[in-house]
């Protein structure tokens, strides 16, 4: 018994030295918020890069290794990762992060979800998400709720550091609230302005900052632009005087640029995620960048 205790003591000392929680997140936004809340008590790795389409990620064996070694897996949920996360979880051989375990956190548990479809769904509608639009992190209000969920889960896994996580969260919350005042003020003159987006990535962002999405470059979610739809869109943009086309960094700019040339508009590349474009590396700077870029484009569009 004595020797057993000694062994255990040795092991505990060894593990205390590396007491960081190893967190794997599916996206850079979750990674950024986890770093904000977790500070130096966490070691965070994101699977999908911010400049990558999060619907289409290769479940590479290098990610299996990360899932295998993780203490906590945080995902966006709402079927965003449906095409690649399940096989990583199966091959990861890590019971700590399987669905239902303490190390598995779906960050969407209490956020505001938009575009929940009603009625019969078929794939004739394109790639619709039956549980609503998964790009919910693009509302800072949802970012706060995600941070709370992460704070609570980290505290549950490491109760000794609860105070640390609470303090880090409070600090993040304060900075986010101050930034929201700034963003709202910058966007206020453009309330109700109409824009076009490539994919349906932005409903939460537009809802939060009171912009109106008039149409999409994609004829249906996940379906690439078609000539007929593009012609219709150009006509409608001209009729309604819409000049702004918002594009995610991972989509081809050719069709959006052609539409912009026809309507005398502007193609605007925004960051759909942290790391999506240079200058938008963290959750808060994503909105800094997007608000600044969008306000600039809206101002130029008014001058046209």
């Amino acid at each position: 018994m004595k020797t057993t205790l000694m062994c255990a003591a040795l092991l505990l000392t060894a593990s205390a030295a590396s007491a960081q929680v190893r967190v794997v997140t599916t996206t850079e936004d979750l990674a950024s918020i986890t770093r904000e809340v977790g500070g130096d008590k966490v070691k965070v790795m994101a699977i999908a890069k911010g400049y990558q389409d999060p619907h289409f990620v290769d479940p590479k064996p290098s990610f299996i290794l990360e899932v295998n070694r993780a203490d906590l897996l945080i995902l966006v949920g709402h079927e965003l990762e449906l095409g690649w996360l399940p096989s990583l979880l199966t091959s990861g051989r890590n019971t700590k992060v399987q669905p239902g375990a303490a190390g598995y956190l779906d960050a969407s548990s209490n956020v505001k979800i938009l575009e929940i479809p009603t009625g019969q769904l078929t794939r004739a509608m394109g790639d619709v998400h039956p549980q609503g639009n998964p790009h919910y992190w693009l509302d800072p209000g949802n970012g706060r709720l995600m941070a709370q969920a992460i704070r609570d889960r980290l505290s549950q896994l490491h109760p000794a550091d609860r105070g640390y996580f609470e303090q880090r969260y409070a600090d993040f919350d304060k900075r986010l609230a101050a930034a929201e005042v700034r963003w709202d003020a910058a966007m206020a003159p453009y309330n109700g302005a109409k824009v076009v987006t490539y994919h349906r990535s932005w409903p939460n962002f537009m809802d939060r900052f009171k912009l109106d999405v008039m149409g999409y470059v994609e004829p249906k979610p996940g379906i690439p632009p078609s000539p007929a739809h593009t012609i219709d869109l150009i006509g409608e943009m001209k009729r309604q005087g819409v000049k702004i086309i918002i594009v995610e960094p991972y989509f081809d700019k050719k069709t959006p640029q052609a539409i912009a040339n026809q309507v005398g508009g502007i193609v605007v590349e925004l960051a759909p995620s942290a790391g999506g474009v240079p200058g938008a590396e963290t959750y808060i700077t994503v909105f800094d960048y997007n608000v600044r870029t969008l306000v600039d484009a809206l101002r130029r569009a008014r001058g046209k």
């Binding site: 062994c7 990558q52 064996p61 399987q98 979800i113 609470e166």
Partner: protein, 379 residues
Amino acid sequence: MFRLSVRSCITRLSTAALIVLAAAGSTAQAQTPATPPPTPAAPAPAPATPQAAAPASSSKVFNPDISVIGNFLAVTGKNPLNTAPSLSLTEAELALQAVIDPYATANFFIGVSSEGAELEEGYATFTALPGNLLLKVGKMRAQFGKVNTLHTHAVPYTDRPLMTENLVGGEEGLSDSGISLSHLIQVPAIFLEATAEVYQGNSAVFQTSERSRLNYVGRLRAYRDITESTNLDVGASYAYGPTDVGADLNKRLYGVDVTFRYRPLRRAIYQRLNLRTELTWSRQDLPGALRANAFGFYGLGEYQFARRWYMGARVDRSGRALEADVTDTGGSFFLTFWPTEFSLIRGQYRHIKYAEGHRGNEVIFQLSFSIGAHGAHVF
């Protein structure tokens, strides 16, 4: 008394760990119903819209994911040794996939063709084992190389390479009832997986009716990212087992596979390149202490040049398992159009020069279409 051997330390610790685990398990169970720690009031979050009210009645909630994939082929041209019909729905694959319980998942794949229905695969995967182990039990495609593990709808061409046709069981492949155990070997900076499998010996490659003679398969796979866009995937496979060529006549298969992939993340939906080769050596015992040696390989290049378009080429060369010093060669070009991820249209030109001197020149069209929820494929 302070000199503890490492082994005794480990033994004692694992015993202690088991006790602790058992205790933790019971506490965890006891704690489950407890409410989560109360969250401090959030600064007026927007009222959450009601979550999607589950439209399905509770009896449907636990139904497995069900999908059906149809594979339609149209073949034109001449091939004296290939009897594929001009127009045929070669297969409808029904897949049923679900989680069994917190410890395992289940997959069933039933292939229905004009010859009837056949259980292609049906296995349970145990995901909650200690020691970085993953266990599969049931009927499944063996982990021998790359193409053997793929279902018909997942191979990037309309047919299978000559190497597969001649040495590794053709369309049906090395697929059998058995047990597969794979282990993730912990080494820094590289993914290393070792798999050991045992099968009853009732497949297109190995055959026996004796309980004491089994088919064994082993595989070692190493993978590493070179950059965020490129990676290298290397495997070595081995299979040994009885055959119906004669009493106590066995076969050995050795395989090597190398895959290089390029997919720039910023343009991941528009561009990618896969280069792959697989080599197989077959050693078949023959009556009279003789042995037939055969070698086969294929080389594949596949390039995505637009969001929905792939083009590729394959070179084939293979001996035959039972005939020494006989070689078939071939080559193919193919072009694939994916309207969405749920359907594909493919054209393939295939030229084969058989050892007897016959030549095949064929154009094969494929339509593959899928409905329902189909689980993600292994990378």
